[in-house]
């Protein structure tokens, strides 16, 4: 409730903090994403039905604070994209509803999540914010920002490498503000990234597109 009073306009994708992991790919494309960090373990699968919309499933095991799990379908939308000569700006939303499970307690839950990013082939920035309500189990607002650079501009058949810095603000966790340096590799439709956070936890994320 305290967090809800903060009432920040919402921004992200459900799941993924994987910066490259936009919640929409291409029509008929399927994305599977999994992340492990100081907040817990997440898995998401999304199917893109039109250039602007995708549907999927989101599940997360929360840690570093209250331990519970969240599960439910989500609806993703591309609110706006600006295609620039050397870059791209996007605003996405992901909204879902399902169930939160805390031991023997089950509660209905809902979330909305916005992601805004700007990227070129050498520079990446993003901001995302997620508001989640799960009745007596937990309600929270979580924010994340990322900046990154690529040491070289990878072409289509190259392995791309990125170095990033991620800052998380999740007031409901034991570690409220966490900074994570990250190295990311991706090749065509496969992405891997790893980091070590200021909370002394290992971060490991992957994504595949089909």
């Amino acid at each position: 409730m305290r967090c809800l009073k903060l009432a920040i306009p919402a921004l992200i994708l459900t799941t993924s903090t994987i910066a490259e992991a936009k919640p929409i790919s291409y029509v008929d494309g399927i994305m599977v994403m999994q992340e492990n960090d100081e907040t817990g373990h997440t898995i998401t699968a999304d199917y893109t039905i039109t250039p602007n919309y995708a549907i999927g499933w989101y599940s997360k095991e929360e840690e570093n604070g209250k331990r519970f799990s969240e599960h439910g379908p989500e609806f993703n939308s591309l609110i706006k994209r600006w295609n620039l000569p050397d870059g791209q700006v996007n605003i996405f939303n992901s909204t879902g509803a399902g169930v939160a499970i805390d031991g023997s307690r089950n509660r209905g839950m809902a979330w909305t999540d916005f992601l805004a990013d700007y990227e070129t082939r050498r520079i990446f920035t993003s901001y995302e914010i997620k508001a989640m309500y799960a009745d007596s189990i937990e309600s929270s607002i979580w924010q994340r920002a990322r900046v990154g650079f690529a040491p070289y501009a990878a072409n289509y058949n190259d392995v791309a490498t990125w170095f990033m810095l991620q800052v998380d603000d999740h007031p409901n966790k034991n570690d409220k503000v966490v900074v994570t340096p990250i190295v990311r590799f991706f090749y065509k439709t496969s992405l891997l990234e790893a980091g070590y956070s200021s909370a002394n936890t290992l971060m490991f994320n992957w994504e595949l597109q089909f």
Partner: protein, 95 residues
């Protein structure tokens, strides 16, 4: 002699078909990563008229080779690129 005539006819037929295959170079805004490229590649490969697709991120260029005697008009190309989430800035054609 008969074999020579048949082979010559086949070569002429192949050459003539090849002459009708198009190479289309599409300049695109918003191409920043391999994920973008894959979306465009998969979108065009679904088209029966398309033989090969190549995405060049350095030059922001999508090169499409059509099958012999198959056409892909500018309107269709623009729509497919737009549907993949990107913006066409120029379309150039050559044989």
């Amino acid at each position: 002699m008969k074999k020579i005539i048949i082979i010559t006819a086949m070569i002429i037929t192949m050459a003539s078909s090849a002459a009708f295959a198009d190479t289309i170079k599409v300049s695109v805004n918003g191409l920043v990563c391999a994920f973008c490229a894959t979306g465009i590649e998969k979108t065009f490969k679904k088209q029966s008229a398309v033989d090969q697709v190549n995405v060049d991120l350095d030059n922001k260029l999508v090169t499409i080779n059509t099958k012999p005697d198959q056409k892909l008009d500018d309107g269709t190309i623009t729509k497919l690129i737009n549907d993949a989430g990107y913006q066409v800035t120029n379309i150039a054609r050559g044989k």
